[in-house]
Every structure is written in C-alpha cells, then in structure tokens.
C-alpha cells in the first residue's frame, strides 16, 4: 500500500510561458472578414462539399485544397449545450468565466461545422434545448481585434417555444 511518512518535501513552482501563434493564410482571411466586415466565412471542399470552420487549407477527409470561400448566415441551430456551474478558467486570459453560464455548439446556416460560444440565455435547463435557433452578436467594429472574442455571444431568436420532448 501507499506509505505515509512524516516528512514529504515538495517544491512549488509557477511557470509563465508567453506564446504568439501565427494564424496563417486561411484563418487570417477569415478573421479579417469578421473584424472588418462582421462576416463569418468558411471554406468549401471541392470534393465532398463540406463547408468547414475554421477556414483551413486542406479538407481532412478528402485531402484536397479548399479553394472556395462561402459566407455563412448570421443565424444558426443549437446542436449541443451545457450550463457550467463551476468557474471555468479562460485559458486565454487566466481569469474564470463566472458561473453559472450557458454555452453551446451552434451550426450557422450554410455551415457543415459548428461554432462553440456563450449562449445569452438564462442558465436554466428548461429554457435551452437542442434545435433552438440563435443569432450571432458581435462586438462593435471599433472593439474587434480579429479573434473569436469578436463574437460576444449567441442570442436566441425571439418567439421560440420549447418542443414537447425533453432535452
């Protein structure tokens, strides 16, 4: 079994490591459209026709170059969600997202891929359901930096009723 000894020295340490990642050709184009024009662009595979987010140079399935750019709708459908009840550290800032909050995966109209973001709804499991319709809410143009944080959240379209089945 595991020994328990009287003295166990352990040495604490904090390591801060700065990084700077190049977004590359495809994502730079997609993120500049978001920042400058408030539009979401995806790439379409010439072979399997999947409309992929984030924009990327090669279709993983077909291994051919993605060369068609497609503007996505600003609205989409929720395919999975959760309500977070524990403080979840935002790795990009080191600060926690304050619980409870809802976030989920939304498939923007015209996309094959989904986009994960906050859901601007009451964190109540009775008020969120798979299939619910949402629209993108972006930061004002002057505040956008060319990153997914340019999206503030998804907001539910008004007048929706929860369907008669459970989530």
């Amino acid at each position: 079994m595991i020994k328990t000894t009287e003295e166990q020295i352990s040495i604490p340490m904090v390591v801060n490591v700065p990084y700077e990642f190049a977004a590359g050709e495809y994502l730079t184009r997609g993120l500049s459209e978001l920042r400058d024009n408030g539009k979401f662009y995806a790439v379409k595979c010439p072979k399997c026709q999947r409309v992929q987010l984030p924009p990327r140079i090669v279709c993983a399935v077909c291994h051919v170059k993605n060369d068609a750019w497609v503007e996505l709708g600003q609205e989409g459908t929720l395919v999975g969600f959760t309500i977070m009840f524990i403080p979840m550290t935002d790795p990009t800032t080191g600060k926690p997202h304050e619980p409870p909050f809802a976030y989920g995966s939304v498939r923007l109209d015209g996309a094959t891929s989904v986009l994960d973001h906050f859901l601007h709804v009451e964190p109540d499991m009775e008020k969120i359901w798979v299939g619910m319709r949402f629209k993108l809410v972006l930061r004002p143009k002057a505040e956008r930096i060319g990153d997914l944080s340019d999206v503030m959240y998804f907001e539910p379209l008004p007048g929706q009723k929860r369907p008669g089945r459970t989530n």
Binding site: M1, I2, K3, T4, T5, Q8, S10, M13, V15, Y19, F21, A23, G24, L27, Q52, L53, P54, R56, A60, V61, V79, G80, F81, T82, I83, M84, F85, I86, M88, T89, D90, P91, T92, T93, H97, Y103, G104, S105, S113, V114, L115, D116, H117, F118, M125, W129, V130, G131, L148, S149, R165, T166, N167
Partner: protein, 389 residues
C-alpha cells in the same frame, strides 16, 4: 501480424489522489518492478523500453530521459510516446508492432501520470487550438456535458441512466484493490452530487489520479517458454478524428467517426459479427459516464440509441452477460498516461483469471479494450487466451 505477440506480465501502482511519498521515477518504478516480477524477467532481459504520459502534465519534458533509472531504460533502446488520453494503449500498440516486426523480443511498456504535480485543467486547455475556441476550452467536463445533452435530446435518455453507470463503476472499483475511488455509491448519491456542467454531476466524472502501469510484451517463442499464462494480442486498430469537427457531441452523426471506424475495422480483421457474443469482457475508456453509453453503441454491443437501455437492464454489470469495466474503469481511476494501458492490463488479468475480487464470474477467453484521447482518436486492442481463437 508478422509474428504473434503476447502480454507476458504486468503490474500497476495503488492509485491515489496524493502520492507525495514518491517522485515520478519512484512511482514509475513501483509498476516496473511489479511487471518484471510478474513476468519473471530481469531488466537485463528487456530489449526495448517505451514510456509515455500526458505531455507537460507534470511540468517536465523528456520524461523518458529524466526517469531512466526508474524505467530501466538505461543503456537500451527506448522511445517516449505522448498521444493524449490514448497514450497507454498507443504504447502497447507500438510495443506490439516492435515485437511483431521481429526486431525486438521483450518490450517493456510503461504509462504513468502524476496529476497532483501540475494543474490538469490549465494544461488541458493547451489541448485546444490556440487559434480557434481556446477561450471556451477550460475543462473536459464541458465537452462531455455537451455530448450528454446531445445524447439525451437524440434518444430520450435521462440523468438517471448516467448515474447507473457511475454506480456500476464505483461498486466494481470497491472490488479492485488498486482502484482510486472506492466509494459505496448509490443512485441518490450520484443524483444529489454537485452539478458541474449540466447534466454532468460530480460523480459522473473521473477523478484526477496518480499512478503507473507497466506491461511486458514478448514474441511467441519467448512467451511460450517463459510464461504460464500468456495473453495474446490478436488485433489492434487506431483511427483519428477530424479535430475541428463535432465528433462525439453529435450522437446522430452519419460521419465515419473514430470509434465506429476503428471498431468496424478490428471486427473485420477478426471476423467478428456479434461483438457482444464474441468478446467475454470489455474495458472501455470512459472519462465520463455518458461516454460509456456511447462506447456501447459505437462498439456495436447494441444499436444506436440503445446504450442507456443496456445499463438500465444491468447487461453490463460485472456478473451480467456483457461485463464492461469490471475494474471500475477510468471513472474510478484516471492516472491519464496509464489509463488506456490499464484497460489492456485489466483485460489481460481477466483472461488470465487473475483479477481476484473483480474477476467476472465466467470463462473469459476474449476481451476488447478501447482508449480515448482529447484529440478524439482511439486505439482498440483485442486480446485472447489462446492463439486458436
């Protein structure tokens, strides 16, 4: 395979939330010594050492170099392998390839994790792409919660079904002397446990464990000469997912995702048509209760949307017709770098009849194990008692 490969021995540590009594090398050495003793080999008889863990969980790169005294790799060929949650099974897979190739006869495979030494949540965020969505990628629990809401919406499963998986895991773990969480858990304990991320509650998730596992692989000649109860590796398969895509969170997906692709390929290699009848026991990689239900379906143990009915009927209990995770699984012990190897080793113990209190009460001749990693890929391993089956 070019040459048959057998597991001729193995060992594991007692897994726990706190192991400040040992450093990494000392902890790894506990499993290595048990494996060598079990196989009846000395370290000089080992001709290749493969080591793996989750990259940077312990804040240290080059663990293969720093732990060389503990692993026994001094002066002999070796490799470090890091493939996320799958790593333990990847090491066995790579080891089996090395033996099957004919270049090595006795390979020591080691997986370990000492989670207490770092910040698992913080390091896991490095699994997410820094360019796309890392802000939302704080912990594994959110991912599994979305999988769960998708599953519930698609098939009508309830929170009680995942609680049944939690109860089964922890009750099985109580029979496994090496397991970390050995709680006398009841349904109401799970249902009343703290909500982490709806619908995932505290008892729906795996613990953060410290521990190591080691297994020794050998060619057929060595295995038959040196081992009374060799367990044969009959087939392996691995498949990657497309990382940016929805994968397990869209349970109705028609896309060929990792788990289905890999299991259908391994069944084809072995000629399996009814996996629930062909295999006597399963050890699957379930960091959350809901992922076990998905494994039932993706492995073809039942049809799509029927996983929750399987647990409801008790089919996968330790004494049920299709025992799954008699060891208590990842839900009871998750020393990540060792977890996927523990699936293989626990399945081998079942075939040997050496699982002691958590031995399933039937003749075990064939077993299937899975691995799962944050990059959404798997390594599936099929084991058997004899080369005739």
């Amino acid at each position: 395979m070019k040459r048959n490969v057998a597991i001729i021995g193995g060992g594991q540590t007692y897994h726990a939330a706190r192991r400040h009594d040992v450093d990494q090398a000392e902890m790894v050495n506990e499993a290595v010594r048990r494996a060598l003793d079990d196989a009846g080999l000395t370290i000089d008889e080992i001709d290749l050492v493969l080591l793996g863990n989750m990259e940077f969980f312990e804040g240290m790169h080059m663990t293969d170099c720093w732990l060389v005294h503990g692993t026994g790799a001094y002066g002999r060929p070796g490799l470090k392998i890091t493939t996320g949650g799958t790593v333990g099974a990847t090491i066995v897979c790579a080891g089996a390839h090395h033996v099957a190739s004919g270049l090595f006869d006795r390979v020591l495979c080691i997986g370990f994790e000492k989670q207490e030494e770092g910040d698992t949540g913080a390091i896991l965020s490095g699994v997410a792409s820094p360019l796309w969505g890392r802000s939302m990628a704080g912990a594994a629990v959110g991912y599994f919660a979305m999988l769960a809401t998708s599953y519930m919406a698609a098939w009508g499963a309830k929170e009680e079904h995942s609680a049944m998986v939690a109860v089964k895991a922890r009750q099985n773990a109580r029979k496994n002397k090496y397991a970390h969480l050995k709680i006398d858990l009841k349904m109401e304990d799970v249902m009343n446990s703290k909500m982490l991320a709806y619908p995932i509650k505290l008892h729906d998730m795996c613990p953060a464990s410290n521990g190591a596992c080691a297994v020794i692989l050998a060619d057929e000649k060595t295995a038959k000469k040196r081992c009374k109860k060799p367990v044969w590796i009959r087939a392996m398969d691995t498949a990657h997912n497309e990382q940016f895509e929805l994968d397990w969170r869209d349970v109705k997906t028609k896309r060929p995702i990792f788990s289905k692709v890999s299991s259908s390929r391994i069944y084809k290699k072995l000629g399996v048509t009814k996996p629930s009848e062909y295999f006597d026991v399963f050890e699957v990689y379930e960091p959350a209760t809901w992922s076990e239900l998905l494994w039932y379906e993706d492995l073809g143990i039942c049809g799509p949307g029927e996983g929750f009915k399987l647990i409801e009927k008790g089919m996968t209990n330790i004494d049920g017709p299709i025992p799954v995770n008699p060891s208590g699984g990842v839900l009871s012990t998750n020393c990540i770098g060792a977890s996927a190897m523990l699936r293989v080793w626990e399945a081998a113990l079942q075939i040997r009849g050496d699982a002691e209190e958590h031995q399933v009460p039937k003749d075990v001749r064939r077993a299937l194990t899975t691995a799962y990693g944050g990059t959404n890929w798997t390594v599936i391993t099929a084991l058997s008692k004899s080369l005739d089956e």
